[in-house]
């Protein structure tokens, strides 16, 4: 429903999203981490709610063109696109904190699913990273991906609940005590094991064991380009399996 409303907003959204994402949440050490996450969550929320509302909610921010999180995340991400693994890791770590705050606030009733969704969005960001263009706000790009995955989650959730027996009783309430709220429920490692060898082995050698593409090619007997393609396709297949496992 929400996507439809947003679609009918016409050009408003293009203005609203960077606005809502870009300005109102300084992620500086000055703020506590939780406060920063809350602020980010609020701003994500403004973007995810009806777009037209967002600019008027932060009238004091509309004059400033760029925001610290945008600048910082963008610098790390751009370095990552150039092949800087450390910068890319930092980018993903910082993004993860933002995503957790956003999702905990967006879907408080399903906090068990938050970590799964965080992982799914990280994988989606990774697989789509070639679609970002430097003239576009990175925060708007990430926000669109996060929202897309969240809508997907809502849809599959609705489908699941309409298929499953909706009746439960008091036993369900006590069935799974939750000691580790930050634990992912779905194990991506197991899904990885199900991939065909020509995708799984390049990922295991290069991405898990940290070997070079040349070494992975020697170990697997694949060509170097086949190793690269295997990683690329394998991570896309992983995302597809996550969708299938929902």
């Amino acid at each position: 429903m929400r996507t439809r409303e947003r679609d009918s907003q016409g050009g408003m959204d293009a203005i609203a999203v960077p606005d809502a994402m870009g300005y109102p949440h300084p992620i500086a050490p000055v703020l506590g981490r939780a406060a920063a996450a809350r602020k980010l969550a609020a701003s994500f929320d403004a973007g995810a709610d009806i777009g037209a509302g967002a600019p008027s909610r932060h009238p004091e921010h509309t004059g400033r063109p760029l925001h610290p999180a945008e600048i910082r995340l963008k610098a790390l991400f751009v370095a990552g696109l150039e092949g800087d693994a450390d910068a890319y890791r930092l980018f993903l770590q910082e993004l993860t904190r933002h995503l957790r705050g956003y999702l905990r606030r967006r879907i408080p009733q399903w906090h068990d699913d938050v970590e799964d969704l965080v992982q799914e969005i990280l994988l989606a960001v990774h697989n789509a990273r070639h679609t970002w263009r430097p003239d576009e706000p990175l925060t708007a790009w990430v926000h669109a991906i996060a929202r897309y995955k969240l809508m997907d989650f809502f849809r599959s959730r609705a489908r699941r609940e309409s298929l499953n027996d909706p009746l439960d009783d008091h036993a369900d309430l006590f069935a799974t005590p939750d000691d580790e709220p930050a634990q992912a429920r779905r194990d991506i490692g197991k899904l990885l094991d199900q991939l065909p060898d020509k995708q799984r082995l390049p990922i295991v050698h290069v991405k898990l064991e940290g070997r070079s593409v040349v070494e992975a090619a020697q170990l697997t007997g694949l060509s170097e380009s086949a190793v690269k393609v295997g990683i690329h396709r394998g991570l896309k297949a992983l995302a597809a399996r996550i969708r299938g496992a929902q």
Partner: protein, 213 residues
């Protein structure tokens, strides 16, 4: 797998991202799709015998310009909608331009014609089959465009599917021009438009399934 481990997995061994990869994907797929449409038009419908002489008239190129403009604008819409956070925006206005242009031309043609000629100008000889011919020719281009568009990351798959379907039918209509005998803008403004919008509607219908990522 914990999220930190996933982050390690994703960041380990990253290489420089090839920004031209999607462009190459389209460059590989589209010629194949268009060739498929041309083969079908030659085998099933046949090239119009007077193609060489008619290619020297401006009206032939005006007719060709219609699907070319639609395909270009739809390609722009696909490339925008395939990027998260970018809306179709002005690409939709550009998509509308050729349609509005050909409707105006059709209107003027009909206005200049004698009342008795107007219906024949609109229906031509092939109005019954024209949209379906374009639909058939769209099959290979549709497959090509959607395969290539799967390299993008559309967050509005229905709109992206509609744009991709229109891109495919624009290309198919270019191929159809080597067969189609109709030379009146009044005809194109109705039957070409329907022929191009049908695959767009199918694209909107299938987009959420085919472009999911």
């Amino acid at each position: 797998m914990k999220t930190d481990d996933l982050i390690d997995l994703l960041s380990t061994g990253v290489t420089r991202v090839d920004r031209k990869a999607v462009l190459r994907r389209f460059a590989r797929a589209l010629p194949l799709g268009l060739a498929g449409s041309l083969v079908i038009v030659m085998l099933v419908f046949g090239v119009r015998p007077d193609l060489m002489s008619v290619a020297q008239t401006p009206i032939f190129w005006a007719k060709l310009a219609f699907p070319v403009a639609v395909a270009l604008a739809a390609a722009l819409a696909v490339s925008r909608l395939g990027r998260p956070g970018v809306r179709g925006g002005y690409a939709w206005a550009l998509v509308a331009v050729p349609f509005v242009g050909v409707w105006l031309a059709g209107w003027l043609t009909l206005g200049a014609a004698a009342p008795a000629e107007r219906v024949p100008l609109m229906l031509g000889e092939s109005w019954r089959v024209c949209p379906f011919n374009i639909l058939l020719l769209s099959v290979p281009t549709f497959a090509a465009v959607f395969w290539a568009a799967r390299g993008l990351a559309p967050t509005r798959p229905r709109l992206a599917g509609a744009a991709a379907g229109l891109f495919a039918s624009g290309l198919a209509t270019i191929a159809y021009c080597v067969h189609c005998p109709e030379m009146s803008p009044a005809f194109w403004s109705i039957w070409y438009a329907i022929g191009m919008l049908l695959p767009a509607a199918i694209g909107a219908w299938l987009g959420p399934r085919l472009l999911r990522w």
